[in-house]
Symmetry: C2
Subunit: 302 residues, 2 copies
């Protein structure tokens, strides 16, 4: 199960009633944060969540509304007595940018590991299989897909037939290879084909592009920027390298995702929901994100 909380839904600048866009996911004792603008630490508290368990921070790009809160967050995590290391992932240069911002937080009681992206890539951290892929903004910007993989069903009959000792079963079930004297047992000896896992794709900021639809293919949840809802602002979306609600909905439809949440609204947008009927004509499973909107993405019932 992956807990998902959209902490904020604002773009460009923080507003009194709208935190900047960022996402907190929780899985198996780990918390993963995507983006950290000014006020994200407050949004975490407001949502009733804790910043201390955050072990992974993914940054999409170096615009202030996506990263300016990171030093404050790290400081507050240190005040909350975090000791375990934190991994920060972002475009090439992320370590330098974070170190600059840390001029006000030079000493922290935990280590920071960095993953600097130099192109699309996939890596595994804390049980998340993460795909970072470049999108189409006016600076280098990555979107992220978080996958929680699910192994195949354990076949007790096959395990018995092969005489695998009972004490090995749970390790094999967890995907580990075990040895017993001169014998080696591998998970594929007892597991069926991998089952459908959980897939979440998070994309902001970008112009629409088929690549995004391909990367978000069949996601359980697609969280996508929609800076503008009024067609009068279509040209602004193009100029500023953002999307309209309708462009995001077209991507969602093309990707065949189960659900889409819109986010990263322009400060001038007061009621995102007023465009929802029109957007749902393109992709019916669209929802407008709200600060603190939560869901639990579950494995399918067997």
């Amino acid at each position: 199960m992956l807990d998902v909380c959209l902490l904020g839904t604002g773009g460009m600048m923080p507003m009194p009633n709208r935190y900047l866009t960022s996402l907190l996911c929780r899985y198996n004792g780990s918390s993963l944060l995507i983006d950290c603008g000014e006020g994200t630490q407050v949004a975490i508290r407001k949502a009733g969540l804790s910043m201390n368990p955050i072990d992974t921070i993914l940054i999409t790009h170096f615009h202030g509304d996506h990263i300016s809160g990171i030093a404050g967050l790290l400081l507050s995590m240190s005040n909350a007595d975090r000791k375990d290391p934190v991994t920060i992932v972002g475009p090439k240069g992320i370590e330098k940018v974070v170190n600059c911002l840390r001029v006000i937080a030079p000493e922290l009681p935990f280590k920071i590991d960095y993953i600097e992206l130099e192109g699309d890539c996939e890596f595994t951290l804390k049980g998340y299989r993460i795909k970072a892929f470049k999108v189409f903004h006016n600076v280098t910007c990555y979107a992220y897909t978080i996958n929680i993989d699910r192994a195949g069903r354990f076949d007790a009959e096959r395990a018995k037939e092969q005489g695998i000792p009972l004490k090995m079963w749970s390790l094999l079930q967890k995907g580990e290879t075990v040895t017993d004297g001169d014998k080696t047992y591998t998970p594929d000896m007892v597991l069926g084909p991998a089952r459908k896992g959980i897939k979440l794709t998070y994309c902001t900021d970008s112009r629409p592009n088929d690549k995004i639809a391909a990367e978000a293919k069949d996601a359980d949840l697609f969280i996508c920027e929609g800076m503008y809802g009024d067609h009068e602002d279509d040209h602004k979306a193009k100029e500023k390298k953002h999307m309209t609600f309708y462009e995001a909905a077209s991507l969602a439809k093309k990707a065949g995702v189960a659900k889409m949440w819109l986010t990263h609204y322009s400060p001038s947008m007061f009621k995102p929901a007023e465009y929802l009927d029109a957007v749902r004509e393109i992709f019916p499973e669209t929802e407008t994100g709200k600060d603190g909107k939560m869901t639990e993405l579950m494995f399918e019932e067997d």
Copy 2:
């Protein structure tokens, strides 16, 4: 008249219902900000004020809760199309610190001038006579007194007696020296003794000290940190180089100020007002600051 708005009252970290401590003053078309923690730009909007006219920013010290919002503020001022220069004042190193934080705001459409403090000093900016003085925190920290001076009354009889042309009167009244042919007229020829101006002293973060009382002497408003109200926290105030409400009240009494507002509350303090009766036994004109608390400091009636 000096408009004063206490934008936030929090110390240490921003909270969902409490912005970090900072102050916005307005005088004669200028806006002056003291401190800019994470979320201060939001607090400005929340108070219904504008960040665009801010031309002077005074920073007390380099702890995150007092400066981490400055890059975001400058970015938003640039989005609001500010073109005129901004002066930033702070402890030695302020330019370097702000430039580090500006890694996310490298290009601004206005110039920044810096005043780096290397000890107590007085300077005049935009009609404010500002005294910066070192206080007693665990890093270099300055408090600020903002004075709005008021010239003496214009004596029309004396001006007539001395045969000063009428067209010179308003310039002399504004304190300017004027010449007319070979004659020079100075303000002291027509102005009475300087009248009482407006004085505001802002002090956070510090341990109490007689120097602060001396600097705040007779202020119309003394805004002072009070991190703790419960006597059980007295030792924390000492350890962390902060003040209790009672220590702040003793300073206010010693300084003979007209009024004191407490601010910079610990995140663990829920209801500052519950300590007010006890604090007023020391200094009756104490008020607990609240986010967005405003007043107008006026010249005395003639």
